[in-house]
Amino acid sequence: MHPVRKQRLYLVLFVVLFSSAAAGLVMYALRGNINLFFPPAEVAQGKAPVGQPIRVGGMVLDGSVQRSDESLAVAFTLTDYQANVPVVYEGILPDLFGEGQGAVASGVLDEQGVLRASEVLAKHDENYMPPEVAHALEQSGFDHKGNAK
């Protein structure tokens, strides 16, 4: 290759490597802050700040959802199967919210470790299938992730 072109090729490689390294360092510095939410295990370890707005994400524990008869108040537990975080919320839940499904709640953690949520979002997983397939899996004793029940 012509030496001038070779030099320009090295320059291009340098620009790409240098910008990747810079981006890598920025992401390293921000590593915790890029996460959208805390998993319950980190809340249990005390990594989540108390009294400040945070988000906690996990699965809604089976049988934990309790709705009030008079108001929109609802209480449920978020779990990552290592630790649990109780959540209280008053408002409309998204359609896909349900027991055994993922959810992200944003709010403030109080002294008792209860998350007082101001917003609850449903987290959808990467599984897509027609209802008949889901039903057939259910019948054969597998859940929608293909794990035996």
Binding site: R5, R8, L9, L11, V12, V15, V16, S19, S20, A23, M27, I34, N35, L36, F37, F38, P39, G57, L93, P94, D95, L96, F97, Q101, V104, E119, V120, L121, A122, K123, H124, D125, E126, N127, Y128, M129, P130, P131, E132, V133, A134, H135, H144, K145
Partner: protein, 247 residues
């Protein structure tokens, strides 16, 4: 082999060959697009949890995939124009930017429309969505930077450097859902291991992804042809072409 590369540097040859590719690729793409949309939006089964709203996947995912791939095309064209001073690579780079911006915009808007019924919000600042927004700004940045210069050569150089620097964002977008906790779910189509989307839903999706690649190619060739005519407006071959079309 080398004569092909030399011809690639010739504007009239590139204009003509792009035209003859478009003559069959464009109708094929438009038919494939219609088939894919009807297949995905009308004939596939609804999802067991999301119902019909999941169908936006047939536009959202192909647009996002090609928006990422298109950035590599733009950055590589930029690198070629920097190293070999190939004017046609510069034309290709410039032609990529608005198409990529449009695809990124489509991905963001369709994602937002899907997010409202599924997640319960239009927008959330998670790693995937934020890095995708940065991609939109990078594409728009290239468009704006190119127009900011009067001198095409300086504009090409600056844009090539910007595209190369922005390239680091592409693997970040791709891996963001695995590296960090995000609201956006991980990929359903897996290159290693079994995909977590039912085959009856996967085939129309793959069809649409291939179609969007073809659509990107068509738009790129059309943009490049327009750019070539503008740049070469004073040359004999363009004047001759204009005279032929008038006659």
């Amino acid at each position: 082999m080398w004569s092909f590369f030399h011809k690639l540097g010739s504007p009239p040859w590139l204009f003509r060959i792009a035209g003859s590719i478009l003559r069959w690729l464009l109708p094929v793409t438009l038919v494939a697009l219609a088939v894919g949309l009807v297949w995905g939006l009308l004939f596939t089964a609804p999802d067991f949890r999301q119902g019909n709203s999941y169908r936006i996947i047939y536009i959202h995912v192909p647009a996002a995939v090609v928006a990422l791939a298109g950035y590599y095309v733009m950055a590589i064209a930029g690198a070629v124009s920097l190293i070999w001073k190939m004017k046609m690579a510069d034309v290709a780079m410039k032609a990529c930017a608005p198409i990529g911006a449009a695809l990124t915009f489509i991905a963001l808007v369709t994602g937002s429309i899907w997010g409202k019924p599924t997640w319960g919000t239009w927008w959330v600042w998670d790693a995937r969505i934020t890095s995708m927004l940065i991609l939109l700004f990078l594409y728009l940045g290239v468009v704006a930077l190119y127009e900011a210069y009067d001198n095409k050569e300086a504009a090409g150089k600056a844009c090539a450097v910007l595209s190369l620097v922005g390239m680091v964002n592409i693997p970040i977008i791709y891996k963001s859902v695995d590296w960090w906790y995000s609201l956006h779910q991980p990929a359903s189509i897996k290159f290693t291991g079994e995909s977590t989307i039912d085959p009856s839903m996967l085939y129309p999706l793959l069809w649409m992804i291939v179609t969007f690649y073809a659509l990107f190619t068509c738009c790129l060739l059309m943009n490049m042809r327009a750019e070539l005519l503008e740049r070469e407006a004073r040359t004999n071959w363009v004047k001759k072409l204009a005279a032929e079309n008038r006659a």
